[in-house]
């Protein structure tokens, strides 16, 4: 089975998830204590089951017996603890380490004051206990990410970038199975703990293949799955009755919007931000790439827990936008086209992304309420640097993809004041609201789903009304597969999850391969 991608990966190691493409490969190679199923539920995997303590702070995982790593060794509770410590040790370039800050002893361990992570303990060969400082609703969702998944003994106790990836997942990486910048080839792990799986002999992941080339290779049968499209190609596939049954949208877990820096003029004035949120005709923005975009009115995308249809979301209302401009002190007269904000606002955008185009529609729309923006196109690293540096950029596109399907994965990094930093800030609006901070902290500790939903509702309403972002669209990807690919379902977290997929060789053009 062969899939291709436009992008590339930097490392294959749970302790170094450096890009958006590698999770699907990690999912093939490494099994975790728990995982997400195809409906987005958290389910037991290497663990047979787990027990949550009454206080919500203790989690006991009971490992399956006889689970074999790719090297043939049996998985033990010590391996789990070793892998967690390896991934969280300060020597690992792990961008997600801080997600596990709720674990007891995390601070001492990452500061090098403790040799072991106190909150993770092996009890005998088959039981692992995680202890948290406070009840934390993000713990299971983050544990189900690839970051802490058990790795073979060959990985040792500390991260090295020369390690040959080895785990307990359905597929294994052969020696030299990764040709950097070109492809990764994984083959069936015969000792996989789920009997009979996986069905495929192997999967080839190709990198740096542009969309046009992918489409031709897909239609000629060289690729079995196509997930990177040029917009017009996607329209053609969806319109073609021969292809339509073999395609599906991915879960919606990406939000895009216009991030306004609340520390810089004119967006330090909440009325200007509200004017922008009301001036954007989201339906027009959507048409820039209609096959992939859906109109957004709130920060949490539809397929993420915490999305709330009962919210009074941001929406296009031209009269209201003019009214907000007036209240901001910049009244604009659309008839004479006079008034408005007197200065031109720089809007920093990166080259050759969708935002370069949506920005041009945005400029047309904001001009109608008296806000003139000047688009500055820079390369992507420059864009990231400028956006994350305090006081540098007043206005620009924002976009965020979930790490785990929970509102916290959006609200905390983007809008909590603790996400403000001088450099590499995730809170691009430099938005600070103590009430919101308190709500988000409270939601994190609230284990009751109904109560948490109510807290998120209040938190999101604050964000919607204060408008540090004007939300524009949810992005949803699309996957097209060959008719002979069977049992394929788009996975809400990993996109491609191949352990149960098989190829119907009889139908495959050109016979078996």
């Amino acid at each position: 089975m062969t899939v291709a991608s436009f992008g590339d990966i930097r490392a294959i190691d749970p302790a170094n998830v450096g890009d958006g493409l590698v999770p699907q490969i990690l999912e093939a190679l490494f099994a975790g204590l728990i995982d997400y199923d195809h409906d987005g539920n958290i389910v037991a995997d290497l663990a047979e089951r787990w027990i949550t303590g009454d206080d919500g702070k203790t989690f006991r995982f009971f490992l399956r017996h006889g689970v074999r790593f790719h090297d043939g060794e049996e998985l033990s509770a010590d391996d789990v603890k070793r892998s967690v410590e390896r991934a969280l040790h300060p020597s690992a370039p792990n961008p997600y380490a801080s997600y596990f800050e709720p674990i007891v002893g995390y601070e001492d361990f990452v500061a090098g004051k403790a040799n072991e992570l106190e909150g993770v303990q092996a009890e005998g060969r088959y039981v692992v206990t995680f202890r948290l400082k406070n009840p934390d609703v993000t713990f299971l969702p983050t544990l189900a990410m690839p970051v802490l998944r058990p790795v073979c003994k060959s990985a040792g106790h500390r991260y090295t970038d020369t390690w040959q990836p080895c785990g307990a997942g359905p597929f294994k990486l052969e020696p030299k199975g990764w040709e950097h910048g070109r492809q990764v080839t994984v083959v069936r792990h015969d000792g996989y703990f789920k009997p009979g799986l996986p069905y495929l002999d192997g999967v080839r992941f190709l990198f740096r293949v542009n969309q046009t080339s992918q489409r031709f290779r897909f239609t000629s049968g060289e690729l079995d799955i196509l997930a990177d499209f040029l917009a017009p190609d996607l329209v053609k596939f969806q319109a073609d009755p021969r292809w339509k049954p073999f395609g599906a949208y991915h879960a919606e877990h990406q939000i895009a919007g216009e991030a306004m820096n609340t520390e810089m003029a004119p967006f330090d004035n909440v009325e200007v931000r509200r004017a922008v949120a009301a001036a954007i005709d989201r339906e027009q923005i959507r048409l820039v790439r209609a096959a992939n975009l859906r109109v957004a009115d709130q920060p949490v995308p539809p397929d993420v827990a915490g999305h709330d249809d009962s919210l009074r979301g941001q929406r296009f209302d031209y009269e209201a936008a003019l009214e907000h401009m007036k209240r901001a002190g910049y009244p604009y007269d659309p008839v004479t086209k006079t008034g408005g904000y007197p200065h031109v606002i720089p809007y920093v955008v990166y080259k050759q992304g969708l935002a370069e185009f949506t920005a041009q529609v945005l400029a047309q729309q904001l001009a109608r309420i008296g806000l003139r923006i000047e688009i500055r196109v820079v390369n992507y690293p420059t864009f990231l640097a400028i956006r994350g540096r305090r006081g540098q950029s007043a206005f620009g596109p924002g976009s965020w993809t979930q790490d785990y399907p929970e509102a916290q994965s959006f609200l905390e990094p983007l809008f909590h004041s603790k996400s403000i930093a001088g450099e590499d800030s995730n809170n691009w609006s430099y938005y600070k609201n103590l009430r919101l901070d308190a709500l988000l902290d409270q939601a994190k500790r609230e284990l009751d789903d109904r109560k948490r939903k109510a807290i998120y509702k209040e938190a999101q309403q604050i964000i919607i009304d204060d408008a540090p972002w004007a939300f524009t669209y949810y992005y949803r990807g699309y996957t097209q597969w060959q008719p002979y690919v069977r049992n394929y379902r788009v996975h809400p977290m990993w996109t491609h999850e191949m352990s149960r997929v098989w190829l119907d060789r009889a139908e495959r053009p050109g016979g078996a391969r």
């Binding site: 046009t212 017009p232 027009q284 048409l287 688009i375 500055r376």
Partner: protein
């Protein structure tokens, strides 16, 4: 005048007229997306029709209006960059040629050698990438400052021939100052080749600007330039080829026009061909 020259001159005149008056003849705003008439039922751009003579681009704006504004930008950059390149190249060439073998000549020519050793587009792209904001002004200055090297070489060679001719010696014998000789006697005699080179150079500059804009180092959107229009159309080439074809053909024609005109001028101004 040869037929090729005539064709070249005609193309150049048509493009100039299009650039100057074109924007006046379309009722569409080159910057406004038309979400009602400019979009197909599949949410793709519409092809050439009665409303949009050249169809719409991927943001559903009128291609003709954008092509006309793009012509202004492209020609303006081509002409101004060439002017800068010609002035610098001419001056350097005359000085270096006149002071052949002296320190000034050696220094200037080494600068030119080093400059010519770099691929022209590479320098331009590096400069384009280094500049934080690119406007038409930065582009034509960048192109002008990097485009004079060949001109300087050519003019210097011509001056080397001139300076030993009798009329120069005569001027010197009459006691004329060097600046006066350079201005009154040398410059008019190198003007012919200079004009020819600069005509061809306009074509090169238009092409260079297109490449820059195509690669994303050019002028920021939404200002249309032919090169950027080409870039914007590439993803849609299979479904909406008009988006790329219109600026592509415009670039091709203008380069052809200026090249033909340049060749014609060379023949007309070359004394040996008369």
């Amino acid at each position: 005048m040869s037929r090729a020259t005539l064709v070249g001159a005609t193309i150049v005149v048509i493009i100039l007229v299009f650039a100057v008056f074109g924007p006046l003849f379309t009722s569409h705003d080159p910057y406004a997306s038309d979400f009602l008439r400019g979009i197909s039922p599949e949410h793709l751009p519409v092809g050439p029709n009665g409303t949009f003579v050249l169809g719409t681009d991927r943001l559903f704006r009128d291609q003709l209006a954008r092509l006309a504004v793009g012509a202004r930008v492209s020609l303006l950059i081509g002409l101004l960059a060439t002017t800068i390149a010609t002035v610098i190249g001419g001056a350097v060439g005359i000085l270096a040629g006149w002071f052949e073998g002296r320190m000034l000549d050696v220094v200037l020519m080494r600068v030119v050698d080093v400059g010519l050793a770099f691929p022209f587009l590479l320098i331009v792209m590096a400069l384009g990438a280094a500049l934080d904001r690119t406007t038409p002004i930065t582009i034509f200055i960048t192109l002008g400052l990097t485009g004079w090297l060949g001109t300087a070489r050519l003019v210097r060679a011509k001056v080397l021939l001139l300076r030993h001719l009798d009329f120069i010696t005569a001027a010197r014998a009459l006691g004329q100052t060097t600046p006066r000789i350079l201005l009154r006697h040398v410059l008019p005699n190198v003007a012919g080749p200079l004009i020819v080179v600069s005509t061809v150079s306009v074509a090169q500059m238009i092409l260079a600007e297109s490449v820059l804009s195509y690669l994303g180092a050019g002028i920021a959107p939404p200002t249309p330039t032919w090169g950027h229009m080409l870039f914007e159309g590439q993803d849609y080439f299979a479904t909406a080829p008009w988006i790329s074809l219109a600026p592509g053909i415009a670039i091709m024609l203008s380069v052809l026009g200026f090249n033909l005109l340049g060749e014609g001028l060379r023949d007309a101004l070359d004394p040996q061909k008369k």
